[in-house]
Every structure is written in structure tokens, then in C-alpha cells.
């Protein structure tokens, strides 16, 4: 008797394991056997769910994004004022918790791989399109309420998102000069400067 739920669970379990192994060992060092070990199963089973390693990795990247988005759903659906929401959005990307760090690491690994994999480039583009829409939406909302100064909301969004990515990289690499605290300061300053009357 086929039990679809079992399959779905197994799939998620394997993808989660894959993300963890990518974050720990690094993309290039991931072996199917590692994933199997981490997921508590066998290489045979991994290949039962994913034909090739490439497919597995790709699915893991998508999984990483989906989980990431879901963790922000509360913020995105919030009714708080735009400034507050923007700050919360930024803070949710600070690599503080283990979960966030893992997600960032996976994402960083993706960039290197995506340079040579059109499929991953599309994934990246759609994800960033999503984020850009969300952030630009919040800014536009703030401008409508006369909270934020004028200027291209999409340009501001691009700047903020890029800044977060660039800073996160340095934090992830354990830079002695770029800590989570400094990352927060830099981002908050940028958001602050968007206000019509800085607090």
C-alpha cells in the first residue's frame, strides 16, 4: 500500500539533511553518502527519491528558500507600520540563530554553483524578485504615509537587499571587523536615512 505521506516526509527529511550537510561540509564536499548518513538512511534510498546528485542539490536549494520564506511569513503579513516592518525584515536576516546561519551558508554555496548552472540562476532570480517586491512594497507603503522620503522604491530595495547579502557574507566568514552587531548598525542606519525626519 503506497503511503504518499511517507514519501513526502522522507523527501523533506532528505532535503533537510542535504542543507545541513551543505552548510557544514560545504557544497563541493557533499557526498551522497553523507546525506544518507545524516538522514538516517542509505544511498540507495536517496537515489530512490532523487535520480541524480545534481537534482538533489537543486531541490535542496529550493527547499532552503521555501523554508526561509516561511519563517518570514509573519513579518510579511504583519500590519505594523512600514518602518517597523522594514527593521523586522532586516533583523530576520541577521545570522544569529543556528537556523539562520545554516540558511545563509546554503545560500552562499548556491551563488558559487549558480554561476555555472542556469537552473539555479533562475531560482535565484525568482527568489530575489520576490524579496524585491516585498521590500519595495513596504517602502512604497511608507512613502504613501509620508514616513519615507521620495525616490525609487525598487532602487532602495535593491540597495538594502544587496547590502544585507554583502554584509552577511562577511559575518559568515567570521570577519573580525564585521560582526552581527555592526551588520545591524549598518542596515539600521540605511533604513533610518530613508525616514523623512530621522528619529
Amino acid at each position: 500500500m503506497p503511503r504518499p505521506s511517507v514519501e513526502a516526509q522522507r523527501r523533506a527529511q532528505i532535503l533537510q539533511a542535504t542543507c545541513e550537510v551543505i552548510a557544514e561540509r560545504g557544497f563541493r564536499a557533499v557526498r551522497v553518502a553523507d546525506v544518507a548518513d545524516r538522514a538516517g538512511t542509505s544511498t540507495g534510498t536517496v537515489h530512490y527519491y532523487f535520480d541524480t546528485k545534481r537534482e538533489l542539490i537543486h531541490a535542496a536549494f529550493e527547499h532552503n528558500f521555501a523554508e526561509s520564506l516561511q519563517r518570514r511569513s509573519a513579518i510579511l503579513a504583519s500590519a505594523a507600520d512600514p518602518h517597523q516592518r522594514l527593521v523586522e525584515f532586516v533583523d530576520s536576516y541577521l545570522p544569529t540563530s543556528q537556523t539562520t546561519v545554516t540558511a545563509w551558508r546554503v545560500w552562499t554555496e548556491l551563488w558559487g554553483e549558480a554561476l555555472h548552472t542556469p537552473g539555479l540562476q533562475e531560482l535565484n532570480d525568482s527568489v530575489y524578485g520576490e524579496w524585491r517586491r516585498v521590500v519595495a512594497g513596504i517602502i512604497r507603503d511608507g512613502q504613501a504615509r509620508n514616513l519615507f522620503r521620495t525616490g525609487d522604491p525598487v532602487g532602495y530595495a535593491n540597495a538594502l537587499i544587496a547590502m544585507i547579502d554583502g554584509l552577511a557574507i562577511q559575518v559568515l566568514l567570521g570577519s573580525k571587523n564585521m560582526t552581527v552587531a555592526r551588520m545591524r548598525e549598518v542596515c539600521h542606519s540605511y533604513v533610518q536615512d530613508l525616514l523623512v525626519v530621522p528619529a
Copy 2:
């Protein structure tokens, strides 16, 4: 009679080839044989100069940075006004020429690898320290001349550099929404906002 210059040349030749191959095939797909082919020698020769592949890659990353810095030496030594120099600095990082694109690709590959290699983290940190110093210096200079508004110059530098990194990633990944032109706009806007009286 040993000719030291030959050795140094050969080394540089191999490192250049390594950077090119990393940029083309991606870090994880680099084979020593590829490097040898590109450099016009044999795998034996590559290993004559670099004991292991890891050592080769690490040296290539350092080479990539050294070359990158040298290409900016003119800007850094320039006597132009701070605003002008900051714009030139930003523009020099736009992934337009083949050389710049290659350097960016190598750098992007480094991030993924550095997550798991302390030696590369140190390299990254020292390089970003250098850039931070340079940019903060320019900003401080502009503030002294009353061109730039007040505020922590290091914070501004961190924001600008991170923004460049984050935007470059998206451009390199061939994002349909983030082109070189948009990247330039976003960066220039940020620099513009630093001016006391925006042009």
C-alpha cells in the same frame, strides 16, 4: 644555471590559468589537468610548483586579489576630489570587462570555499580591511572638505562595499532584474546621498 625569473613567470602563468579556469568551470569543477592545459604545461609541472590542489587554489585566490588591487592603484593614488574618486572606485568594480567579470567570479567562488577554510577567511578579512580603509579614507577626506555629510565613515564604507558585493552577485548570476546599468544607478545613488548638497 637556474633562472629565478623563469620560476616566477611560470608560477604567475599557472595562477592566471587557475583563475581563468575557476571563473569558467567553477571552483568545484576545476581539475588540475584543466589548469595544466590552460597554462600550456603538464599536471606534473603544476604539482612541481604547488604541492596540492588546495595550495594551488589558495594561491590563485591571493593572486586574484593582488591583481585586483593593482588595477585600482591609479584610482587609489589619484588626486581627484573625493566624490570623483568614490565614483571611480565604484565604477571600477562594475562587472563590465572580461577581466573584471573573471575577478568577480573567482571572488564569488572564494566565498563558498572560505566558509570551510580558515586560511581563506583570513585572506578575505585582510582584503576587506584594505578596501574598508581605502573607502573610509576617501569619505573622511570628503567630510573634511565639507563635501560629504557627517556620520561614521567606516559605516558608510561598509555599507557601500557590501552593496557592491551584493549587487555584483546578482549581476554575475545574470539576473534579468539586475543589470550592470541598474547596479551603477543604485551605487551612484548611494554615493549621491552622501553629498551635503546633492547635485
Copy 3:
């Protein structure tokens, strides 16, 4: 369903092949590929059972000893008189059959390797301890029955065993002056001299 017996069989099969190849090609010339060919499998399979070549070789040496000991089990368990058993023991080491020659060759290769491998030294020591015990036991038995003359049984055992090794080397090397027949004579003479009343 895993079949443990299959694994054990495969292991023994590979070890047997390894001993044969060592005896034929010599220790230093053994290639994992040779072993695989001889065992009728692939190099991948050899490495599935033995992580490294060193481990494989070591296990082969142990295998060689275990098999060797088992071939003497009848003699060791025999109830014949001590003189008879000692002669049989000596004769069992004459490099006459293919099996014995192979075992001797493997053992000779081990000596060279063991000079630089503590693990093999321990193996050698435990094996010779075993032989010394057995031979000394037979001699002590003979002395108790007044067949053999007095004197340190362990000393006699050491002399006899060393003599067998030294002679076997010369025979194995195809010496024109040391044939199996002469080896037998020399050993039998020594045993003869142990008798209270030489026959």
C-alpha cells in the same frame, strides 16, 4: 537482505588473491588493480573491503599466517612421538609445494616491510612466539621421555626455527648450492643431534 557470508567470502577471496600477487610480483610491485584482476573483481570492490592498500597488505599477511597455521594443525595435534613430530614439523616448512612456496614468498616480503611497520612487527612477533611455543613444547616433551638430550628447549627451538628461515630464504632465492634436499638434510641433522642416542 544482507548476506554476511557473502562478505566474508569476498574478503577471503581478495586476501587470497593478494597473497598470490605478492608472491608473484613482489610486494613493491603489487598494484591494487592486480589484486582486483586476480580476485575477479574491480578496484572499487577491493577498496570497498579495505580502505587503503596498506590495510589490504597487512590483512593479507595475517591471512597468510592463519592459513599457514591451519595447514599445520594436524601435526600440532598429532600424538606421534616427539622426534617424529619435530621431523614432520620441519618437513612441512620445506618449500616443495606451490602452496608452501607462495606462503614463504609472502613471508619473505613481510620481513622487508615489517622493518618499517610496527604493526607488522607485532604480527611477526606473535607468530614466532606461537611457533617457539609449539617447537619448545615438542622438545620438552621429548626430553621428558628421555629421547632428547638436556639443554634449554627454547634455545633449541629458536635455533631450529631460525635455521629453517635462513635456509628457506636461500632455497627461495634459487641458490645453486642450497636446494630443498640440502635444506632437509641440514635440518634433519640438527634434529638428529638432539637425540640422546643418535640413530
Copy 4:
């Protein structure tokens, strides 16, 4: 101006280095580069004197034997009584000094290699022929003086030499049960038993 003595010196120097490296690293681990390092020269120079590695190794084995024989010349030419000379001969083979240990190690490595190299088998055979002649001569001399009991002198020589080889192997392998002291005892006992009237 060619200086033959320089060449001869260099040759000896390289051969000595080769023996030392064989004794230290083991035959299979010897690299031409190691020999060059030890001899304080370059691989190019080693190959200037020896066309191939095989030739180098073979010459080193011969060198090892020649040196070994020369160290015994005093004993062989001695006018002492046969018993005394036999004991001295045995003692000269006890692996006590560094020089003797090195020579034994090289010799042990030779056995393994000679199994598969006819040229080395011939070398071994001629060397053992020499030793057999010497020892048998001493024994025959002792018998003529009524010191040693009757019996085939060549047989006794073979037994003694083989015993020395077999015991030396165990000592070299660092056996806990076979020390230099025990080796001496065993050999001396055998020689003692050759006397007509044991002391």
C-alpha cells in the same frame, strides 16, 4: 680535465647514501630524490652515475656486501684458533653497532627484492658461497686439529649461517623475545656443540 678519483668518490658517496636510505625508509620507499638529498647532490647527478634506479639499487646491494666483507677481513685473515675465529665471526654479525644494523637491514630488503630479480639472486648466491667457504674452512681446520667433532663441514656451515640470518631477522624486527643477547647465546651454543669436548 676529467678526474677519475672524483667520479669514484662521488659514486661511493651515492652508494653509501643509497644504503642508508634503504635501511631507513625501506626499499620500496626509496626515491631517487631521497638518495640525492642524502648524498648532498641532485637527481640529475645520481642519474649521471647510474642510468636507472634499478642499476643504482643493484650497485648499492653490491656495495653493501663489499663493505660487509671488508669489515670481516681481519677475522678472516686471523691466525687465532678455529673456535676463537668462529666465535668472532658470529659476533661480527650480531646487530649491535649502527653500521651492522644498517647492513643487515639492506640485506633483508634485498631478499624480498631478489625473489623477483635474477641478478640479485646471483649476487646473493655468490656472497653466500663466499661465506660458506670461509666458515666451512674454519670448521675443517678445527676438525683437522681435533677441536671440532666430525661431520660435514659444509653442512655445519650452512646451519650456522642460516641460523644467523634467521635470528638476525627477528632481532631486526624488534622481537621482544629475541634480543641480541639471546641471539648470541643461541649461536654460541651451536658453536659450543661443535667442540669435541664442550668447555
